[in-house]
């Protein structure tokens, strides 16, 4: 009951913040200007949702690795559920990143895809995590599935920092936010971004807890089914 309340509150706060972020981005934040050409770049509005979704997906994959490590250490089933939920959500957010990223590419660069460091490393990351689901579904026994899943989540997470730092280490046309010179956004642009970022985080946590709760109920159900069957 407490969990349900917490999920509802988190979802509510997340939704309100996301809607506020959108309203602020379109009604208050001015249209950004390209410093090189001096032209207004309306597609920059994509950033207020694209970046929070991207950061959330990367954090989710890191969380999956942390829960995986906790599972290997403590051997408690709840950590496997949390790790699986985090990979699932990270993957769903990742698909959104790819989709919104392609729209950005088309609007900004005139093409749907560029083989530049960020897009390429992110694609590799997504392919790695799609293997996670294939691996899990190919194993029958639950404990082996959980153990292999945890190890896979830890190994795959190595790609997360590579993806994050790719555009900071290799020359790229992908825009960089938050480098050594600052946030890359100022005033209302930064406010709109941060509100969306917090909104997406609250939304994500509510989804993670819902999915986690679902795994728990499924397991209880399986136990009861076995009791009746036995």
């Amino acid at each position: 009951m407490i969990m349900k309340k917490a999920i509802t509150i988190l979802l509510g706060i997340g939704s309100v913040l996301l809607l506020t972020g959108i309203a602020y981005a379109f009604l208050v934040a001015p249209i950004a200007v390209d410093p090189n050409t001096g032209k207004e770049v309306f597609h920059q509005k994509i950033l207020y949702f694209h970046v929070p979704v991207a950061e959330t997906s990367l954090v989710s994959f890191i969380l999956a690795a942390v829960f995986g490590a906790l599972f290997l250490y403590k051997r408690e089933r709840k950590y496997d559920f949390l790790s699986l939920a985090a990979v699932e959500l990270g993957f769903m957010y990742g698909l959104l990143v790819e989709m919104t990223g392609m729209m950005w590419d088309k609007a900004a660069w005139g093409v749907w895809w560029q083989w530049e460091p960020r897009l390429t490393t992110y694609l590799i990351l997504m392919l790695m995590y799609s293997g996670y689901f294939v691996m899990r579904s190919s194993i029958g026994e639950d404990s082996t599935k959980a153990r292999f899943g945890a190890v896979y989540a830890i190994i795959a997470a190595v790609n997360v920092p590579l993806t994050f730092f790719a555009i900071r280490l290799i020359p790229s046309i992908h825009p960089i936010l938050f480098d050594s010179s600052g946030a890359g956004l100022e005033g209302p642009l930064l406010v709109a971004f941060l509100v969306s970022m917090f909104g997406m985080t609250f939304f994500y946590v509510s989804l993670l807890l819902t999915r986690y709760q679902m795994f728990g109920v499924s397991e209880e159900l399986d136990i009861l089914k076995n009791q009746i069957g036995g």
Binding site: L11, H43, V53, R211, M214, V217, S218, L221, Q227, I228
Partner: protein, 49 residues
């Protein structure tokens, strides 16, 4: 600005559709599972009596 508008709208619409769709599907499935769990719990109680 006009040529970039469809992409910006597409991004915002797409993200909302996916996120809200996910919330709807997961919550729907969760309430179904809880109902099934309640019914099975009663069946187990009866069997144990």
């Amino acid at each position: 600005m006009k040529d970039q508008l469809p992409y910006v709208v597409g991004v915002y619409m797409g993200i909302w559709v996916v996120l809200l769709g996910y919330v709807f599907i997961v919550n729907n499935k969760l309430s179904g599972l809880k109902k099934e769990l309640g019914a099975l719990s009663k069946a187990v109680e009866k069997k144990n009596k």
